[in-house]
């Protein structure tokens, strides 16, 4: 009874499970996506200014807002509203009165606090995490940071401290506050690759090719971005080095026709992609330096959008139009063991979860002229093929990409003529719009 029948509407499923197993506290997606039902109640004190430098207030404001937002975004905390915080601002372990934080109305199990100072162009931050109910030995974490006194670094330090807290309290899974999201934006006039922090801050262009670029996929070590770009002979898989700040070669990615939708293995050694070089778009695999391209699918009809199982680097999910409308399939890396995962409609853009257990993809189940329903983001448990719909009645949603913590998904949402990038928890809650100008599409969450 733990798993729900895929044929019942989700609302009925929830009801059925509640009625039949009222004591069960977890549902299957929450369990698998590392989103437990028991959220730790955590409070964050505003950090204490420890210098009178004129830079201090502005950087402290950025730091406080970022830390609070990161812990709220993490998906594993019940974050105490700042309006409940005690009057006194503790700047060190000697200054904190834990009873104030464990009592009503704060009622926090954990409290993060510390001090921030600037001097001579440097930013110094001391941060602690205390367990309010372990008065004998409350310190869970104590960190110190010293960086250039800039807004960017104030944000970065807050991200690092947040990730330490999330790692410590979130079951040993790294936080995502320091991760990046790569995407396509047309706001300079041509479709270029852009990057931003995971929370939508710090948006900036990466490429300036003046063509049309699509499907950016960052390498697992954050050193390169594979993408598809339009040239005179059609679409090529191209490679941009983030370390060198320029294009580098990927010889196996150019063959005329459509070469597109690259996907890295989790070890960074190989790239799967779609190529029409044989006369029909098929899935190919090349080494990460662009050599040794070889074909693994052999069916007529479009085969695109591969994604590797990051746990095994030996299985792929992809989209095939071999039976008509596109469906999600999985196969082994030699093209054997093909299984169809979706039973109809229009299913595209799969992304394989970091723990290997789930696919997220975009699906329009009630497809056809005049049919109700829309293009929404789904999560499917691969072993059972049971699925959960994450977006409902809000625009046309596509291109989901897992965050490395397995708790978050970034995707594109088109409402009217505008497409923007959103993130959400892997259960569909806490949807946040990250971009607000121009058309922004095809987000890809970095691996770390």
């Amino acid at each position: 009874m733990k798993f729900h029948s895929r044929l019942l509407p989700p609302t009925l499923l929830v009801l059925a499970s509640l009625l039949s197993v009222p004591s069960m506290a977890q549902d299957w997606v929450r369990t698998g996506s590392n989103l437990g039902n028991e959220r730790i109640r955590i409070a964050v004190a505003d950090f204490k200014p420890a210098s009178v430098d004129p830079q201090t207030p502005a950087l402290k404001a950025v730091f406080d807002a970022t830390l609070y937002s990161d812990l709220g975004n993490a998906g594993i905390f019940d974050l105490v509203s700042k309006s409940f915080a005690p009057q006194a601002t503790p700047g060190s372990p000697q200054e904190i009165n834990l009873a104030q934080w464990s009592a009503d109305p704060v009622n926090a199990a954990m409290v993060a606090f510390g001090s921030l100072s600037t001097a001579n162009g440097r930013l110094a931050v001391y941060g602690w995490l205390f367990d309010t109910r372990n008065t004998a030995n409350p310190q869970v974490l104590g960190k110190q940071y010293n960086e250039a006194a800039t807004q960017d670094m104030a944000r970065t330090v807050a991200h690092r401290f947040a990730d330490e807290i999330i790692y410590r309290l979130g079951g040993g899974i790294n936080g995502i506050a320091e991760t990046k999201i790569y995407f396509i934006s047309s706001r300079t006039g041509s479709k270029e690759i852009w990057a931003m922090d995971y929370d939508g801050e710090n948006q900036h262009p990466v490429t300036h090719l003046g063509s049309i670029s699509l499907s950016p996929r960052v390498s697992p070590d954050n050193s390169r971005i594979a993408f598809a770009s339009l040239g005179r002979e059609g679409w090529s898989i191209r490679m941009y080095s983030l370390e060198l700040g320029r294009m580098v070669g990927f010889p196996g990615g150019s063959a005329g026709g459509a070469n597109q939708s690259p996907a890295w293995t989790a070890d960074g050694n190989r790239i799967a992609f779609s190529s029409s070089r044989s006369g029909d778009p098929e899935i190919w695999i090349a080494d990460a330096n662009g050599s040794n391209p070889h074909r693994i699918t052999f069916f007529k009809g479009p085969d695109v959008s591969p994604t590797w199982n990051p746990k095994t680097n030996a299985q792929l999910a992809w989209v095939s139009g071999r039976t008509g409308l596109p469906q999600i399939y999985i196969m082994d890396q030699d093209g054997s063991n093909v299984h169809r995962m979706t039973d109809g409609g229009y299913a595209v853009s799969p992304s394989w979860s970091p723990n290997g257990q789930f696919l997220t993809f975009s699906w329009n189940r009630k497809y056809g002229p005049g049919a109700p329903g829309g293009q929404d983001i789904y999560v499917m448990d691969i072993a059972t093929m049971r699925w959960l719909q994450l977006t409902h009645d809000a625009g046309s949603n596509d291109f989901p990409s897992w965050a490395p913590d397995g708790r978050h998904i970034v995707f594109e949402r088109q409402i009217g003529k505008g497409t923007e990038i959103w993130s959400m928890l892997a259960d569909g809650t806490e949807q946040h719009q990250l971009t607000h100008s121009g058309n922004n599409t095809m987000p890809n969450w970095s691996w770390k």
Partner: protein, 245 residues
């Protein structure tokens, strides 16, 4: 070569006609009326326009004949020989009025030429570029939703496209594959590739060398029409042909 000869032929005809008319002029004047005639005979006049109905830009041959006239003119053309032939190119419907004056009086005759608007498919003129001619003769084909097989209504278009390309062996072609806005960008790039490749295969099967054809999928990246309606989507589900420069 073709375009040149099309211009050349009418030019030669025109020169020939002018030459003929010129020869007429040099002919000796008609013999004077018999001295015995006691009174002058009234003149006669006749004019014909062939053909009497044309499209704008076409030529009309006027021929006229008078007797007993000393002073012959056609309104708008001025004085003319008493008998003659002239080629004209009226742009609007025109009535040619021949007036013949002689000692015996005046005679006149008319010939009307009706000019209609140029035909929809314009006769090639000097102003039509090779690009425009290509566009007029090699037309795009359209596809059903999520499909890339050649529709029956596209077969006629493709065979016309192929025959134009067969008769213009120096022209190279780019085929663009296009999709409507629905569905994923990546899947539509693959679908657009299949549409463009299907059009290429049809041309190759009709005898166009594959080496003359370049294929690019635009997916849903370069729509012809940006409204979210079926008629607009149909415009975007196409294989589009253009000259490869």
């Amino acid at each position: 070569m073709n375009r040149r000869s099309r211009i050349l032929v009418p030019a030669v005809v025109l020169i020939a006609l002018v030459a003929v008319a010129g020869c007429k002029k040099k002919q000796p004047p008609p013999p004077p009326p018999a001295a015995t005639a006691p009174a002058a005979t009234a003149p006669t006049a006749e004019i014909t326009a062939t053909p009497s109905s044309i499209s704008a830009g076409d030529q009309v041959v006027l021929s006229w004949k008078t007797t007993d006239a000393a002073d012959v003119s056609i309104e708008g053309l001025g004085a003319v020989p008493t008998t003659g032939v002239k080629t004209v190119t009226p742009s609007v419907s025109t009535t040619y009025h021949l007036v013949a004056r002689g000692e015996g009086g005046t005679a006149d005759a008319t010939a009307r030429v009706v000019v209609s608007a140029p035909p929809a498919v314009a006769v090639p003129t000097n102003t039509m570029s090779a690009e425009e001619e290509f566009k007029a003769n090699v037309q795009d084909i359209f596809f059903d939703y999520d499909a890339y097989d050649i529709r029956s209504d596209a077969e006629g278009t493709l065979s016309h496209d192929a025959s134009y390309l067969a008769s213009h062996p120096n022209i190279k072609v780019v085929i663009g594959g296009y999709c409507d806005e629905r569905g994923s960008s990546e899947y539509n790039l693959a679908l657009g590739q299949n549409r463009a490749d299907a059009a290429k295969n049809a041309l190759v099967n009709a005898g166009v060398a594959a080496s003359r054809i370049r294929v690019i999928s635009y997916g849903k990246e370069k729509p012809f029409c940006t409204e979210s309606t079926e008629s607009c989507w149909q415009q975007n589900r196409r294989a589009g042909f253009s000259m490869d420069q």
